[in-house]
Structures are given as structure tokens and as C-alpha cells.
């Protein structure tokens, strides 16, 4: 099978079709919580079925039941009309149901083909038959139209390619149902298109794909059918062509969202951050090359660019993550030139970084809301001998929790138990308490649901009103266009364009973001920023 973006009309019309998998009246309880409440969910072969819902709606729970991770539930699973009960993920895999997780399940040190055959190696006479595995992997790649060398170790592949290897692995299992959980969260636009091509090819092969995503654009371009979960219940299910974007959003959040990403008007003040001719090198390679930009008080400055353009590194350089020896150029903050040598110094000056990976870089998941919220500002709550003034700490945290509308049972709840959106608000709270004048935001709304996104941007708008400056990185261009006052575009470590709010133009931004990636270095127009 070759990837075929065609496949205009599938047979998804014919309604009385046999389901490949049918989940009937599933209820799943956790101590004190009903995660799923009488949910029924049908999957047809040759169909891409999108499952959407805010964080905490129960999507993951449903998929974990389907893929055999949770075995303790009420209700019934029918596979090809026959009742089945999976006792572990292996059972489900043998039945042809495979889940591709958000966190990839590949062994980085092993090669592509070793990963594809992990646990089911081809064996002849008790010896692993590498040749046979290589050939099969090669054929699999060719079937999917993938240009990936099966002999390459996984850690030498880009994230997008790894995702595709996962899919190849799933296909090798002769899967009939493939569950993709946020498959595009780490992919560039080109890779997303590629993934869609593969997904369509899968549909041709009569494989059922369950597609979980927060990105509505993707859902409308790939899904045949959409089911919406909210608070553990199915609140709507329809063919994609019968549903509008607005209807979908309303179903997801259960209320009308007039403006998806609100933009509050804030007075623009003095320059708070000025970066001049900043370069960052790692060994011989230049990660950032001669970047100059500025951020003013109350201003939200967007930073557009593809994965690997150096956006994250730019924020981290300003935040003092890299040693001075790798950095050239100057950083001016609050009118003074600074050499910020560590995150500690950055925070003391009033710069906060909200990192890309919320769980890995921002939160101590096993600790409470209070402990996380004051992590960066603990010094403000100390008596002599560094003893923590706990009553004052609790009071301040309670205030910020209610100010930011963080939904948590109490301030001594573990942050691991909060939803993604509320976790992100705890991260924001952490820096608010440290009196931050400039926020560096790296994908602040990744993996959080529509309602929470709006709330996060509202919060950012409110802070901007009070004079805080923002440098915002987001891969979701519509978001960036909606909330930014100005946008800089990075490509390959260089600044390629600057747009004021009046001149925002999605096509021009994409052009600037891909300027050096096609090899047309010479014909760049003269609008380069600054």
C-alpha cells in the first residue's frame, strides 16, 4: 500500500455496518471518582474516529480500557460482535488493538527494526534472524511510503519520525484498531501532513483509527466521525461533515465560548527586555545566530517558527540556562545590561520561564499545590534560620489559587492530581509569587483543553495589563496570531521577520519560518527584523 492522500469517499455512509469494536455502557470508577459514566463507543473499520474532550473528560481512561490497561470496569466490550475481556495490553494487541501513546514507547538505543520487532523477534533455530527482520521492516516502510532507514537507532531520528516508527510497529502487529493519542503534539506541519497521508492509507486498508487530539483543525481535516466526551459522558457523536467547529467547541466545553483566545488591550510601556546580536553555539554549530529583539511592558511578543528553529533555546539563553562561554551578544533587562548566569539569577531579576514540558521541567508532581507554588519564591516566606512561615505561605497560596481560579480540592492536594490546565496555572502561580516582570512562555497551552487555554490567555492578558512583558512561543499559529502584539519569526536560529499586529498574515509568517529550510537562502526579501 502506498500512501494515498486521495480516498475522497469512504463507505462511512452505510449506517447499518458491522462494528469492529463496540464499547457498551462502560462505567469506570476510581476511589471517589467516576471517570466514565455509562459510555458507549463504536468503532467501524476503515474509519478515522476522532475522540475529543477537555482534559479530565475521560478519553485516556476509555482508551486504557480499550487497550487492556484497565481491566476493572463495568460494561461490555464487543470485538466483531463477540464479547471480549482483555486481561492485559498484550491480550488487546493480539486482538489487533494497539495504542500509540503520547509518550513514545520506543527504546532509544535500539534500531528502528529492533524496535518494530521488540518482543516478537523473528527467530530461526533459536537465534534472532536479523536479516528477516530487516527485510520485513524495509517492506513495511515501503508500504507506508516512509523514508526511514530501519538500521538507524531511534535516538538518531527526529520526534516526528519516531512517531511514524510507532505506527509502523503497530502495523506490524496486524492491527485492526490503532489508537493515536495526541500524535501530532511534537510534529512539524510537514510531518503532520505525512502522518495524515499514512492515516488515510490505513483507512484504505480497512484499519480503524481512533484519533485523540486537542487540535480542532486536524480533527476536521482527518476524521470521518467525531465523538465528544465531557465529564465522563458521551455528549455528542456525529459524522464530521454534519458538525461545525462551533458546535464541536460548544459540545466540548458545554458552554458558548465567544472568543477562543481573548485579547485584552494593555497599555504598552517601557522596554523591559532588549536582546542585541545574541548568538548561542554548541560546539561548532550555531543554534542562535545574531538575534536582536525587544519586549516592552504590557506587550505580548510572539515567537513563531518550526520545531528546531531555536525558539526554546532563545528563551533558555535569556533565562541563563546555558554557560556564558557559549553565548555572544548582550541582554539588557530593565535598562541595564545583564549577564544572567543561572535561572536563580534570572528569577531574582524578575524573569520567569514557563518551560515546554510541564511535568518534566516545571512541576514537582509528587508535591502539593502549595509546595509547587512557592518553589521559586520561598525566600519571601522565611523567618530567621530559613524557617518557613507556613501560615503566611498558605495564605499567599490560597490567594493566588483563587486569583487564578485554579480548580483544586485544596492547596495541599498533590499537583499530579490536577488537570493539565490547572497544573499550568500552578506553574504560572509559581512565577507570579516571585514577582516576575518578564515571562518567557514556551508552549504554555500544550496539551491543555480549549476552555483552559482561553483561561490561560485571559490570565496572560490580565498580567500584561499590569505591565508584565511576555515572550511567547507557540506552535499553534492561530493562537499566536490571536494573542500577540508583535510577532518575530525564527528560522534555523536566525530572525527572519517581524510583524506588527496590523500586518499579521499567516502565509507570510509561514514563508518566513521556512525561508532557509528549502535551500533558497539567496532570495530572501529585505524585511528581516530590526
Amino acid at each position: 500500500m502506498i500512501q494515498h492522500p486521495a480516498a475522497v469517499e469512504t463507505s462511512s455512509e452505510a449506517t447499518p455496518r458491522a462494528t469492529i469494536l463496540s464499547m457498551q455502557h462502560i462505567t469506570k470508577r476510581f476511589p471517589g471518582v467516576v471517570a466514565l459514566d455509562d459510555v458507549s463507543f463504536d468503532v467501524y473499520p476503515g474509519e478515522v474516529h476522532a475522540l475529543v474532550g477537555e482534559n479530565g473528560a475521560g478519553k485516556s481512561t476509555l482508551m486504557n480500557i480499550m487497550s487492556g490497561t484497565y481491566t476493572d470496569y463495568e460494561g461490555q466490550l464487543l470485538l466483531n460482535g463477540e464479547p471480549v475481556k482483555f486481561h492485559n495490553p498484550r491480550d488487546a494487541q493480539n486482538a489487533g488493538i494497539v495504542m500509540i501513546h503520547q509518550e513514545l514507547n520506543l527504546v532509544p538505543e535500539l534500531t528502528v527494526y529492533e524496535n518494530i520487532f521488540l518482543g516478537r523477534e523473528h527467530v530461526s533455530f533459536g537465534i534472532v534472524n536479523r536479516g528477516s527482520m530487516r527485510r520485513t521492516a524495509q517492506k513495511l516502510m515501503a508500504d507506508l511510503g516512509l523514508d526511514i532507514d530501519p538500521n538507524r537507532p531511534i535516538n538518531r531520528l527526529r520526534v516526528g519520525q519516531r512517531q511514524l516508527v510507532e505506527i509502523a510497529k503497530a502495523l506490524n502487529l496486524n492491527s485492526r484498531v490503532i489508537i493515536m493519542d495526541e500524535p501530532t503534539s511534537a510534529l512539524s506541519e510537514a510531518e503532520v501532513e505525512y502522518l495524515f497521508g499514512v492515516t488515510r492509507a490505513l483507512r484504505e486498508r480497512n484499519v480503524a483509527v481512533i484519533y485523540i487530539s486537542h487540535r480542532l483543525d486536524e480533527i476536521f481535516s482527518i476524521a470521518d466521525r467525531i465523538t465528544v466526551l465531557r465529564d465522563g459522558r458521551v455528549v455528542g457523536s456525529a459524522l464530521t461533515k454534519d458538525m461545525t467547529r462551533r458546535q464541536l467547541i460548544n459540545l466540548m466545553v458545554g458552554r458558548n465560548l465567544d472568543v477562543l483566545y481573548p485579547k485584552l488591550d494593555a497599555p504598552i510601556g517601557e522596554t523591559v527586555l532588549r536582546v542585541k546580536n545574541l548568538s548561542l553555539r554548541a560546539g561548532r554549530t550555531r543554534i542562535l545566530d545574531d538575534i536582536s529583539l525587544e519586549v516592552r511592558q504590557g506587550e505580548i511578543v510572539g515567537l513563531a517558527g518550526l520545531m528546531g528553529a531555536g525558539r526554546t533555546q532563545l528563551l533558555e539563553t535569556i533565562f541563563g540556562v546555558y554557560p556564558q562561554s557559549q553565548i555572544r551578544g548582550s541582554i539588557w533587562f530593565d535598562g541595564k545590561e545583564m549577564r544572567i548566569k543561572s535561572p536563580k539569577e534570572a528569577i531574582e531579576q524578575g524573569i520567569g520561564l514557563i518551560a515546554e514540558d510541564r511535568k518534566g521541567q516545571s512541576l514537582v508532581l509528587g508535591q502539593t499545590v502549595t509546595e509547587n507554588a512557592t518553589l521559586a519564591a520561598l525566600r519571601e516566606f522565611l523567618y530567621f534560620l530559613n524557617i518557613i512561615n507556613q501560615p503566611a505561605e498558605r495564605k499567599a497560596v490560597s490567594r493566588v489559587v483563587s486569583d487564578l481560579n485554579i480548580k483544586t480540592p485544596s492547596i495541599s492536594t498533590m499537583v499530579a492530581n490536577l488537570s493539565g490546565g490547572n497544573q499550568q496555572k500552578v506553574v504560572i502561580a509559581k512565577f507570579l509569587m516571585a514577582h516576575i516582570k518578564l515571562f518567557l512562555l514556551d508552549e504554555p497551552t500544550r496539551g491543555i483543553d480549549v476552555g483552559a487555554k482561553a483561561e490561560v490567555y485571559n490570565l496572560i492578558g490580565e498580567l500584561a495589563k499590569q505591565g508584565t512583558g511576555f515572550l511567547l512561543v507557540s506552535s499553534e499559529l492561530p493562537e499566536l496570531l490571536a494573542v500577540s502584539d508583535r510577532i518575530y519569526v525564527l528560522c534555523d536560529g536566525r530572525l527572519t521577520a517581524e510583524f506588527a499586529r496590523g500586518e499579521f498574515d499567516q502565509t507570510a509568517i509561514m514563508e518566513a519560518a521556512t525561508r532557509f529550510t528549502n535551500g533558497n537562502h539567496d532570495d530572501q526579501p529585505g524585511e528581516t527584523g530590526k
Partner: protein
């Protein structure tokens, strides 16, 4: 996970199951405490009876248990700090040997050092206070080395402290020429005030080492609970990257944790010398494993970020009472080792039963 709260309980069965889980969760949270009670009760039951008195419960025996536990307890308190940051310190046994030897040497032997300009200065024999302070400073220095090498060269603590296990043992042999240094309090011997460390107070019942252990434990428990240093230890163990990006001086705090660990090891070494009336480079082999076992039995996670001083000391008591129980029943020490090993595995396995937190 969903967030709908169950309103009307569900079936009686699930209600009962929930109660059971809650009960289990409660017991597991205070695992070390319940473990201590169980071991204590077992020790009482299986104790030999002589002249109608329960030997285990006799004042003398309990006092001995407290004395024997003291060193493990002090070591476990320090070890906990390193384990909290996701590290481990394998060198504490050797550091006990080195510091015990050093203590005995400084109290008993004559030595001098020659400095430029100042000439030759007599260093020892020292008064008790001088020896104790010198040895505690030595502990801090060893800990600094452990922490600094781990952090500066990004070497896992397992390796740097394994190296120190060898270095400290070697230094102990060099310092004493490989022979035990006896401590005597006769004329021309050690400062008699040092003997205080091997006495028992309050009608000859409470051993001084046990008081030192409790003192150290209480201070560290308060530090962990109420100071920014304690809070930062847990944060670093929980997520080092997030801690660094939150402006915590991760490197400095980790080095301080190693320094305190070796400081407590030196404290245990001083107690050890006082108890045995000698300092020998061959002593305290495998003590690091007792300390780690106590910390783990006390509910700490070797991944870091989880554990308490109370748990660590309770763990030390569980090990101590078990040893005592087996000795009273004349079970040979090799069997004790087997039982101890099984106990560690059992305690850690139990932690896996903890009701998983909803994520």
C-alpha cells in the same frame, strides 16, 4: 481522570472495598510505625522467659537495644538526606571506621605537624571536645568531596561514594598503621570526659548514644519539615530540572546533603569509638547497608523526593529489635543477615501496594 465525585456510594461491596483500601492506605502510609509495632510484639512473644521475666522486655535488654540502634539511627538520618535528593552514600561504613580510628588516635596518640613559619605544633593527644570537633569537621570535608565530585563531574553518587568507601577505609588503615587504637582512661590516657559517651543516664537506663540519635533525628526532622533547605531537598528529589528552573541552587543543596550525611557518619564514628573503647580500621564493615535498609524500610524512595526521619529511625529500630530478638533466641548471626535481607525486600514490595495516586 474524571472529576465527578461519587454521590451515592454504590454497592455495599464496593463500599467495603473502599474502606479496606483506605485502611490499607493508612497502614501503608505509616508502614514503618506499624512495622515497628509488629516486630516489637513478635519480639515480646518469642522472647525467652527466665525467672518469670520476659528477657526482651527487661530494662537492661531494652537499654541495650537502644544503644545498639543508635549508630544505625544516626547513620540513617544522614543517609536519608542523600536518598531524598535521589542519591545514595555507600561510604558511610568506611567513614565510621575512619572517624572512629581518628577519634581514638587523636585522644590517645601523640602527633604533631610541621608548618612553614610556625614550626612544629603538637596536635594530639587532644581533649575530648577538640577531638570531637576535629572529627566532625573531617566528616564535613569527606561529604563535601563526595558531593562536589558528583556534581562537578556529573558522576552518579553511587560511583563517587563507592570510591570513598575504598578511600576512607584505606585512610583509616594508613592513619593507624592497620592496628586498632585502644582508648583507656587511665593516667596518661584519653580525656576522661570522653567516657561520658558510653554511659547511661537516668538510673543507668538511657544510653547516651540513643540520646544523641534522638537529638539528631529531632533536629533533622524539624529542618526537613520547617526550613527552605528541607523543602528544597524534597523538591530536588521530586524533579531536579523543575527545581533548577525554579531558581533553586540545586548544586549547593546537593553538596550540603552529602556533607550532612558524612557529618552524621562521623558522629556515629565517634560514638562507635566510645562504645568499643577503641578505634579500629577494620570496624563497621557493611554499616552503609544497614543505614540504607533502615531508610528504605522507613518508607523512603530510592528515586528521591520521598521519606521521613521518623521513618528512617523507626526502620533502624525494626532492624535493631529483629537482631536482638534473633540473638536472644540464639539464632546465629548469619541467619540474621538472611532475615534482614528478606525484610528489606518485603518492606519495599509493600510500598508497591500503595493505592496508586490518580493522575
Amino acid at each position: 481522570m474524571g472529576t465527578t465525585i461519587t454521590t451515592s456510594g454504590g454497592s455495599a461491596l464496593s463500599q467495603a472495598r473502599r474502606t479496606f483500601r483506605q485502611g490499607l492506605g493508612f497502614i501503608l502510609r505509616f508502614q514503618s510505625f506499624f512495622g515497628l509495632i509488629i516486630v516489637f510484639v513478635l519480639a515480646v512473644i518469642y522472647s525467652p522467659i527466665r525467672n518469670d521475666t520476659n528477657i526482651f522486655l527487661s530494662e537492661r535488654n531494652l537499654s541495650n537495644v537502644a544503644r545498639d540502634v543508635a549508630e544505625t539511627g544516626i547513620l540513617a538520618t544522614g543517609q536519608l538526606l542523600v536518598i531524598l535528593i535521589g542519591g545514595i552514600d555507600l561510604s558511610v561504613g568506611s567513614v565510621v571506621a575512619l572517624t572512629a580510628t581518628g577519634t581514638a588516635f587523636l585522644l590517645m596518640r601523640q602527633s604533631s605537624i610541621t608548618l612553614p613559619l610556625l614550626g612544629t605544633i603538637d596536635v594530639s593527644p587532644m581533649p575530648a571536645e577538640g577531638a570531637i570537633i576535629t572529627i566532625l569537621l573531617l566528616g564535613l570535608a569527606i561529604g563535601w568531596w563526595n558531593g562536589w565530585t558528583s556534581e562537578r563531574f556529573k558522576i552518579p553518587a553511587f560511583v563517587t561514594t563507592l570510591a570513598m568507601l575504598s578511600i576512607a577505609r584505606g585512610l583509616a588503615h594508613i592513619w593507624s598503621d592497620s592496628i586498632a587504637v585502644p582508648i583507656s582512661y587511665r593516667e596518661g590516657g584519653a580525656d576522661p570526659s570522653f567516657e561520658f559517651l558510653r554511659t547511661r543516664l537516668y538510673d543507668n537506663v538511657i544510653p547516651v548514644p540513643a540520646l544523641i540519635m534522638f537529638g539528631a533525628g529531632i533536629v533533622m526532622a524539624l529542618v526537613l519539615r520547617y526550613t527552605s533547605f528541607g523543602r528544597h531537598l524534597y523538591a530536588i528529589g521530586g524533579n531536579e530540572t523543575a527545581s533548577r528552573l525554579s531558581g533553586i541552587s540545586v548544586t549547593r543543596i546537593k553538596i550540603v546533603a552529602f556533607m550532612l550525611c558524612s557529618f552524621f557518619a562521623a558522629m556515629a564514628g565517634i560514638v562507635h569509638a566510645a562504645q568499643l573503647n577503641q578505634g579500629s580500621p577494620n570496624e563497621a564493615v557493611g554499616y552503609e547497608l544497614n543505614a540504607i535498609a533502615a531508610v528504605v524500610i522507613g518508607g523512603a524512595s530510592l528515586m528521591g523526593g520521598k521519606g521521613t526521619v521518623v521513618g528512617a529511625i523507626a526502620g533502624a529500630f525494626i532492624l535493631g529489635i529483629l537482631d536482638n530478638m534473633l540473638s536472644l533466641n540464639n539464632i546465629e548471626s548469619n541467619t540474621q543477615l538472611v532475615v534482614k535481607g528478606l525484610l528489606v525486600v518485603g518492606a519495599v514490595a509493600l510500598q508497591q501496594f500503595r493505592p496508586r495516586d490518580l493522575t
